[in-house]
């Protein structure tokens, strides 16, 4: 087990308003989320001395403009002018989970005391995923000429392989979409809060990139979420009950860029990250009380459940049936609604929900007696990270 388990905790969470279009600059959303997280923790903004984010815009073919379509550390520093600031970072090889892990490391190293991590997501005008212009450079020269555009198609090809090799039926995924939408009814910050979705709606919805229909894809939105992290001893002096980080991991596998559709790379990415997390925390999948697994495209949940070890390969669509992922089920899953419910904000919201469930702060969607709370914070293939939060340190 990891010597540093439960030595850092999440002590505050914050949310901006989630909107469909970019009516105000993204920096304003990020600021609202960061202020909310600091207020939730009971700290003053002047106490914050660490900043971390992952400022990528996943929409292809659009300009990255700081403050408008991304919110970098520099942008946040310029807005907040923190008097106590001692540390900051932006990550590249992992999505926002990597920024959280770097903040954990900085707190353990004693180079900051109260770190804020935010993820701000922009919804550009026009088509979200644009193929390159007239010419395809770099890795895209082998994919774009054939009509492969955004990451959805890349994930869709792996999903057909999974479905057909395992003799599975995509209609079973309706259970995930419908269950997560019901969970969303307990999350007032979510884009689809109180918007119903039936099994019939799912099965009748239009195809986007087979096997993905509309409700297999998270809706692009504009918004931000944020957390405050601090050391366990400091967390105990703050107002909210701490959610202790018992262990974390990151994917240790990388596919050569442009080699798309490899199902095995999702599995290797996910299992390498989860193995670190289980070893460091001392827990195993059967100990988990509640799980958040990244669901930007629904099939990520399949790859997550299987590669993290919650079920065997080929069984995930059967695993999610029969009430198992309900709030009172054997493995309550994506209890905040997931990205399919909140809109496309990436994995920091999964991390937030993992922390809230571990500390008993999830309100009407709180899983009874939850202690061991697992998070798979992005698609296992490229940017995967995993976490375990607990309410009771050990």
């Amino acid at each position: 087990m990891w010597d540093n388990r439960c030595k850092v905790a999440v002590s505050g969470v914050g949310f901006s308003k989630v909107t469909r279009s970019a009516d105000i600059p993204l920096a304003a959303h990020a600021l609202e989320a960061v202020k909310g997280a600091v207020a939730d923790s009971g700290l003053q903004m002047s106490d914050i001395d660490g900043l971390a984010t992952y400022p990528e815009l996943p929409a292809t073919g659009h300009a990255e403009v700081d403050g408008i379509s991304v919110v970098s550390v520099n942008c946040m520093m310029a807005m907040l002018k923190l008097p106590a600031l001692t540390w900051h970072i932006q990550v590249g090889t992992t999505n926002i989970g990597g920024a959280v892990q770097q903040a954990v490391n900085a707190l353990l190293a004693g180079v900051c005391k109260y770190a804020v991590v935010w993820r701000a997501m922009h919804n550009p005008r026009g088509t979200y995923q644009n193929l390159p212009g007239a010419y395809a450079h770099g890795a895209a020269q082998f994919t774009a000429p054939y009509g492969f555009g955004g990451p959805g198609q890349g994930m869709a090809v792996a999903y057909t392989r999974w479905l057909e090799r395992n003799n599975q039926n995509r209609e079973k995924m309706a259970t995930l979409a419908v269950t997560q939408r019901r969970h969303t009814h307990h999350n007032p910050h979510a884009w689809f809060y109180k918007v119903p979705l039936s099994r019939e709606d799912y099965l009748a919805s239009r195809m986007v990139a087979y096997p993905f229909c509309l409700f297999d894809c998270d809706i692009p939105v504009q918004g931000a979420v944020a957390i405050v992290l601090t050391t366990a001893d400091r967390a105990r002096d703050l107002k909210p009950k701490p959610a202790y980080i018992a262990g974390y991991g990151q994917r240790l596998h990388f596919e050569v860029a442009g080699r798309i559709g490899s199902l095995s790379s999702y599995m290797e990415g996910g299992s390498s990250s989860a193995k670190l997390t289980w070893e460091r925390s001392g827990f195993s999948p059967k100990d988990v009380d509640v799980a958040q697994i990244y669901d930007g495209f629904s099939a990520s949940v399949i790859y997550g459940l299987e590669s993290y070890g919650f079920c065997k390969e080929g069984e995930a669509l059967d695993f999610i049936q029969d009430g198992r992922i309900e709030l009172d089920g054997e493995l309550p899953l994506n209890t905040f609604g997931g990205s399919l419910g909140t809109g496309r904000i990436h994995g920091l919201w999964h991390i937030i929900e993992g922390a809230l469930q571990a500390s008993g702060r999830a309100g009407s969607r709180q899983v009874k007696d939850a202690n061991v709370s697992f998070v798979g914070a992005s698609a296992p293939i490229v940017t995967g990270t995993t976490f375990i939060f607990v309410g009771e340190p050990y």
Binding site: Y135, P145, R206
Partner: protein, 143 residues
């Protein structure tokens, strides 16, 4: 069957690593990068052998028969250049002679509903302009 006649495909721009692939395709030959130390074929081209980290890599002709490893049927018309072809099959092919190397393509000369994992395909060549010819795939006809 998808109508590709009105589709304007993005044109690949070869670089130092990929130029031999496109030069060969223009001649109607499929050549992939091969490690001269361990014999492994790989695609897309990369700085080192993905199996043994060898750096002596050369392009060699490879037989163009393989199987559909995975596929998707595209319905979304976000990119208008491809709108006239939807629904169309974008496929990933694993060549028999180059296990592990995955090539993207479209399934041509067949309805998109014929795309299935494991189905046998063979390479054909689609000329885009004087410089660039795209490797593409069609089903292997029954004997």
């Amino acid at each position: 069957m998808s109508d590709w006649s009105k589709v304007t495909r993005p044109i690949p721009v070869p670089n130092e690593w990929t130029k031999p692939f496109w030069d060969a395709a223009r001649r109607g030959v499929l050549e992939l990068q091969r490690c001269q130390s361990c014999g492994h074929f790989q695609h897309p081209p990369y700085a080192t052998c993905v199996r043994c980290i060898g750096t002596d890599l050369k392009f060699e002709a490879v037989r163009g028969g393989g199987a559909i490893y995975a596929y998707t049927i595209m319905y979304h018309t976000g990119d208008k250049r491809f709108a006239s072809a939807v629904p169309y099959a974008s496929i990933i092919v694993e060549l028999e002679a180059a296990p592990g190397a995955l090539l993207a393509g479209n399934l041509l000369e067949a309805p998109y509903t014929e795309a299935k994992v494991g189905r046998r395909v063979e390479v054909i060549f689609e000329k885009l302009n004087d410089d660039i010819t795209l490797p593409q795939f069609r089903l292997v006809r029954a004997e």
